[in-house]
Symmetry: C2
Subunit: 394 residues, 2 copies
């Protein structure tokens, strides 16, 4: 059977060059970077090279990179670490309604600790209005966290515009760039942020290799206590293979960014056009233009996303319905609800994320199979039967 992988938001295949870069550190160069001998030296050099590679991808300084095990950890560290460090300056935090759960739920935890949280809404395309952010700012606002791009609908947020509206001596501005880093240009100076999360597994790097970039001078309390690794800000034995892989993936993403954006945008637009033209009662979710290159997201009315996934899988097609972090929870996406899509329609969420291996044949295969899959499911849907009857009646 043909195999078509269009779930790069959930997992990207590791680039062969990345794997090759990692393998020595799973072999002869297995040392601990903290050790005072030659095994340690090799590991330490590799970690520091990776730090430079990650910094280069986002236009930061190597010393400002803190390696973590996941984007979730980087977001937890940013939200809790910065808010707790600035607790004496204020207790107000601003986030958007479509943040990842690692941001939303970290804000909720901070709320239990006494923080006050303002959740800025988004429009129907999933975009945050910079003026809304500005209006939410109070004298005691210590932290603003707005994602760079959304991982469910691909909408790119106006981070630089928001940064421009914030006072120079205002709150710390963090952006969760897990969905965007390595996929579109992400330069911390252009964005005007003080902290940024990224994860290698979103751009063909390894699991376990992620980072928080924290601008020099921004204080943060560590999430974990322990040894002196990462300047005492993130203890635990360094996962050298993952860090090296993240570094290599960052270097490669930086080099190939322009061609990747062109290729994936073209495939994405072909897929969007094909799906919208061939599947009735279906609409694109997220922003029509300001969206991540590989992201084609839809709501398909009268069916549930999970059922489509199962049937598509039987045709060898991998896709997603909402975030991998909640897919098995079978709840309507908070992102779609925040965009004003109703609960029933949000159940029909579908997300195809194209990647390195995707090509036009893959796209055409999905466009060919999806309509019949949707039809088959709608034939079993009481809601759809009711809709058809109402149409005839009306």
């Amino acid at each position: 059977m043909r195999k078509v992988y269009m779930d790069n938001v959930a997992a990207t295949p590791l680039l062969p060059e990345v794997r090759e870069a990692m393998l020595p550190f799973m072999g002869a160069d297995f040392g601990n970077p903290q050790s005072l001998h030659s095994w340690g030296d090799a590991a330490r050099d590799a970690v520091e090279e990776a730090r430079g590679q990650v910094a280069a991808l986002i236009g930061g300084v190597a010393e400002e990179i803190i390696f973590t095990a996941s984007g979730t950890e980087a977001n937890n560290m940013a939200l809790k670490g910065i808010a707790r460090a600035k607790a004496d300056k204020g207790k107000h935090i601003v986030i958007s309604a479509i943040e990842h759960f690692s941001v939303i739920n970290s804000a909720r935890t901070l709320q239990k600790e006494g923080s006050e949280v303002t959740i800025v809404p988004v429009d129907g395309s999933g975009k945050v209005n910079p003026d809304e952010v500005l209006r939410s700012i109070r004298k005691d606002t210590i932290l603003v966290s707005i994602m760079h791009a959304n991982g469910e609908v691909g909408t790119i947020e106006p981070i630089a515009d928001i940064a421009n509206k914030l006072a120079a001596d205002g709150p710390v501005f963090h952006t969760d760039a897990v969905a965007s880093a390595g996929s579109i240009p992400v330069k911390v100076k252009d964005l005007g942020v003080h902290a940024l999360s990224l994860a290698g597994n979103q751009f063909n790097g390894p699991r376990g290799g992620a980072a928080l970039w924290l601008k020099r001078g921004v204080r943060m309390l560590p999430l974990m206590d322990g040894g002196i690794q990462e300047g005492g800000r993130r203890p635990g034995t360094e996962d050298v293979p993952a860090i090296v892989g993240l570094g290599k993936a960052a270097e490669l993403a930086d080099k190939t960014l322009d061609t990747k954006i062109k290729r994936l945008s073209s495939l994405r637009d072909r897929l969007i056009k094909g799906v919208i033209n061939n599947v009735a009662h279906t609409f694109l979710t997220g922003h029509p233009v300001e969206r991540l290159p590989g992201y084609a997201s839809f709501c398909i009315k009268f069916i549930e996303g999970e059922s489509i996934l199962m049937l598509l899988n039987s045709f060898g097609i991998a896709a997603a319905s909402g975030s991998a972090c909640t897919s098995r929870a079978l709840k309507a996406s908070h992102v779609l609800l925040a965009m004003g899509i109703n609960h029933e329609v949000a159940q029909g969420s579908m997300l195809f994320t194209l990647g390195l291996d995707s090509n036009e044949d893959d796209v055409d295969y999905v466009i060919e199979k999806l309509p019949s899959v949707v039809d088959r499911l709608r034939q079993m849907s009481p809601v759809y039967s009711k809709f058809l009857k109402e149409q005839k009646g009306g």
Copy 2:
């Protein structure tokens, strides 16, 4: 030059079988365990198989295993997660004086949040007295955390004896088994604990693959917020290769435990005897018998551990002086100080940790080289000159 690696406490080489088990998940089987398609199924099955393998190593139930990225994370999760979940029941925590910094510093953080911490002393061999633990227990003691074995001197603690003294409805009993799991028998029922931390990189498994075992029914607040992974207790995309590697390493450690213990104990005793007999003013640290099989630890008077490490490295020998988590901090070990060793002598701490590749020739090479290294350093030591003069004078 001959290369002799005796720093297995800082890093163990990955077993070839473990690497082989991991590689498919760094290749074709790159899926996300949460995904509702065949790529996800393969990843999910692999994670659940690993959960069973880790549970088998410690005689626990698979559902009680929570995967983490490091032993440090598992310890942070145990200390903070359990104490915070039980904050309404009491605020008193008991730890020992020789815990890893991920335990000691987590307890300090809890202290800032209002907890009261009792630090139980150890004797000259680094052993905790179970009666001391019992005496420290109060009505509001919610958590006791005593390590199973110490990673700097190898002393094995009387965990089962401590458990026997604790009331059945008493505090939650956690043990940090990072240094012991995979090296000596670690069975949660025999130990009588409610929570246990372990890390694959201590028994020839990968970095990034560690776990907290938490007995069913013991409540814990997650350290991080985010998605639904690990039953919502540890969010973030699963690091499938690391988890699979941890599982395989656990399976292999379980199978080979008896032969490994015999082999390493014999090499260790040969090394201890050789060093004590050939290097003057040197004594074994830690318990003479109840110690980890591969651990040969000493205090070598009149010199600093770091200087020995540098010189040994020039002979191709890798060893440690204290914990890798603090080695670059150049402070005297809190473990040795707690054992009653004075500050100056503690500076001469040396730790050789034998592993899979160690053999008698390696041991003999160290025994041959160490005395001349020590002599050379002592010749430059004003403290040693003073000592010699005093000896002559007296």
